[in-house]
């Protein structure tokens, strides 16, 4: 229990540090990436490439593991269907991302860098999440079950 919390805290801290190092804590830099037809700033593409590289290796290691190191079992998304919720939700997310230059990770990390505006965005974001929860007949957002050994 304590070990799992410590691992999660460590992972969160490395993630937050990575956001700060990469310039992704800066909403204007993120909007610079999204400004494809203007003064385009490709930095975010390097961040994505840098992040996907170790994760691609991690997935290969994962496929050979029976269980994670400090947890009894893998609990990973298993859904494969493409539905309207995925597309509409992602489109809405992209619109909000473009409006504010913030996605959830940098917004929360910014609570330590620019507390007041970050707190406003995060509060609104949690409000949006609560609104979604109030949607009638919403199926679970993510189907999670024991991952099959590949």
């Amino acid at each position: 229990m304590m070990r799992q919390i410590a691992v999660a805290l460590f992972a969160g801290a490395v993630f937050g540090a990575g956001l700060a190092v990469s310039g992704m804590a800066d909403p204007q830099r993120v909007r610079g990436f999204l400004d494809l037809f203007g003064d385009w700033d490709p930095t975010l593409a390097f961040v994505m490439a840098g992040a996907i590289l170790p994760m691609a290796i991690a997935w290969r290691i994962q496929s050979r593991m029976a269980a994670p190191v400090v947890s009894p079992r893998f609990a990973l998304p298993t859904r494969r269907d493409l539905d309207a919720r995925l597309v509409v939700g992602s489109a809405l997310f992209g619109i909000g991302w473009g409006i504010a230059g913030l996605c959830p990770g940098p917004a929360i990390a910014n609570l330590a860098i620019a507390p007041a505006p970050a707190a406003l965005f995060v509060a609104a974001m949690l409000g949006g999440m609560i609104l979604h929860r109030l949607l009638p007949a919403a199926p679970p957002a993510q189907t999670v079950s024991e991952a099959r050994r590949a």
Partner: protein, 147 residues
């Protein structure tokens, strides 16, 4: 002559990106979970009932500002230009919160964890939110709402 992409930070972006990927790898191989910030934030706030144990979600979410503060402490102020104004922060936040729950993820869960797994759902989600982001900024610029 001005260099192309004069403002880009490819080295810092790559290093920070590797740290993010490493963090996601620790979540996957250590705890058996996806490092998806929107899902973990909803779980930590008590908005979502499923997903990671709440204590782990809270710890990960607390770690985000902690790590950013550590970088600021070690290497000086972290640039974060919030020029978008209060209205954009509120509307953007609402739409990001609603959209990430409806679409089951954001840049971290779909973009980093899903793409590296070659998940079809995450590929579609990432393509859609990227295009929507490009279109939104282009439209805002066209209507004189650029920041």
């Amino acid at each position: 002559m001005q260099a192309m992409f004069a403002n880009a930070m490819p080295a810092e972006g790559m290093i920070g990106g590797l740290m993010i990927g490493l963090s996601a790898g620790v979540m996957l191989l250590g705890l058996g979970r996806i490092a998806g910030v929107s899902g973990l934030a909803a779980r930590a706030a008590g908005i979502s009932g499923d997903g990671a144990p709440r204590s782990q979600a809270i710890a990960f979410i607390l770690g985000l500002p902690l790590g950013a503060a550590l970088v600021a402490w070690l290497s000086g102020p972290v640039v974060a230009r919030f020029d978008q104004g209060v209205t954009a922060l509120i509307i953007g936040g609402l739409v990001v919160g609603f959209g990430t729950r409806l679409g089951s993820g954001c840049t971290s869960g779909h973009g980093v964890c899903g793409l590296s797994r070659l998940s079809a759902r995450s590929l579609v989600a990432t393509a859609v939110f990227m295009v929507a982001g490009f279109a939104t900024v282009a439209a805002m610029n066209a209507f004189g709402l650029g920041q």
